[in-house]
Symmetry: C2
Subunit: 225 residues, 2 copies
């Protein structure tokens, strides 16, 4: 674990005055009771607002749905973990013994949470404008590549809207099996639709992904593919 | 519908410079394509951040979970609709014909969305500090009455934590029946738990409420009540 933050300051383009904020942001709950969970709470809300405002300004004709989906792609765990990896944030994390052994510094959820905590720490160490600059700089490339009207609705939303347009009942999702233990579980779900003789099935490593897969299949069936 | 905003300015403790922002915030999508949906997107993110920061500062020893639950009670639709009602916000709403006939100005979701849009409008018309003052003033009484460590976890969270502590599989919720059409639907769900011979049942006017009711019953069964 690195405690020389100079390379991190460079990639953040921000120099902490009170380094204790940054140290706390990089401390996982497995390492100490003085950890990054509260900073993550604050940083998550800052990130959501900063991304919302940037999208609101940048895309004056985008609908609320397009803005919501655009923000979801910017602030989801996967994106944040990617940014954290590019920053080598994992090298600076303080983890407890169990998390160290199991390679916690590579875990997307731990990396994403730490990055949100760093945003919270920057804010406490400076002010909103500085924090906004740090956050938007890290999101810049992804913001530039966004086309809100091109972000597809997820299959569950599409299926719901399709059925509502036909005034048919909403689909019912049921988890059929869950195999394994977190974080490597495997879910199998069915999606039942009034009027379809057999359910559509989907699998995935989260309930949400399995449901999306099932909704995707259901849409294919409904569209006769 | 009132277009004289003077009473509203008083209760907001804020005078709009550009009244068009406020008018847009009070225009439901049923009335115009120039409606409050984008402002609601912005206002929701502002409210979440402002509430997060206020709780973070006010409760320096609260855990992340306590902060999250505290914020949820402050910013949920029910709370926002109550505040909107106390402000008589419904009197100022521009609604389309269908929503007018069905009493849309009383609908909690329409009131809560409009209040979030008003927060977005205040922000655009002024700045973050002014917006923060307006929001916190309206949340003041509820903030003063919060005790983060006393906010109970919801039954689904309790049930999940109870089962995880015993290293048992997570509960599986299934929607059994949905009666009626939105917004007056009635849900019946079952909650299945490995090791329990019969599922626990719950009903409610949303899937979430029905699942919470089922989880509450399941906890009672597990605790031998």
């Amino acid at each position: 674990m690195k405690t020389d933050y100079s390379a991190l300051y460079k990639v953040l383009n921000y120099l902490f005055r009170q380094e204790t904020y940054l140290t706390m942001a990089l401390t996982h709950r497995s390492a100490s009771s003085q950890n990054n969970e509260r900073l993550e709470f604050l940083g998550d809300s800052l990130l959501n607002y900063i991304a919302a405002e940037a999208l609101f300004e940048r895309f004056p004709t985008a609908s609320e749905g397009e803005l919501t989906r655009s923000r979801a792609t910017l602030v989801r765990e996967e994106t944040l973990a990617e940014i954290a990896q590019q920053m080598n944030l994992g090298d600076y994390l303080q983890l407890g013994g169990g998390e160290l052994k199991s390679g916690g510094w590579r875990r997307p959820s731990i990396l994403a949470d730490a990055l949100e905590a760093v945003f919270g720490a920057v804010y406490l160490d400076s002010d909103m404008n500085t924090c906004r600059q740090v956050v938007l700089r890290l999101l810049q490339t992804r913001l530039d590549n966004l086309s809100p009207h091109k972000i597809n609705k997820d299959p569950k939303t599409c299926l719901q809207e399709y059925l509502q347009a036909q005034q048919r009942p909403l689909p019912i999702y049921r988890v059929l099996t869950i195999q394994g233990d977190p974080p490597t579980q495997h879910f199998e779900v069915e999606c039942m639709i009034d009027g379809l003789a057999v359910p559509a099935y989907g699998t995935g490593d989260s309930r949400r992904r399995a449901e999306q897969a099932a909704a995707h299949k259901a849409l294919n069936i409904l569209h006769g593919n």
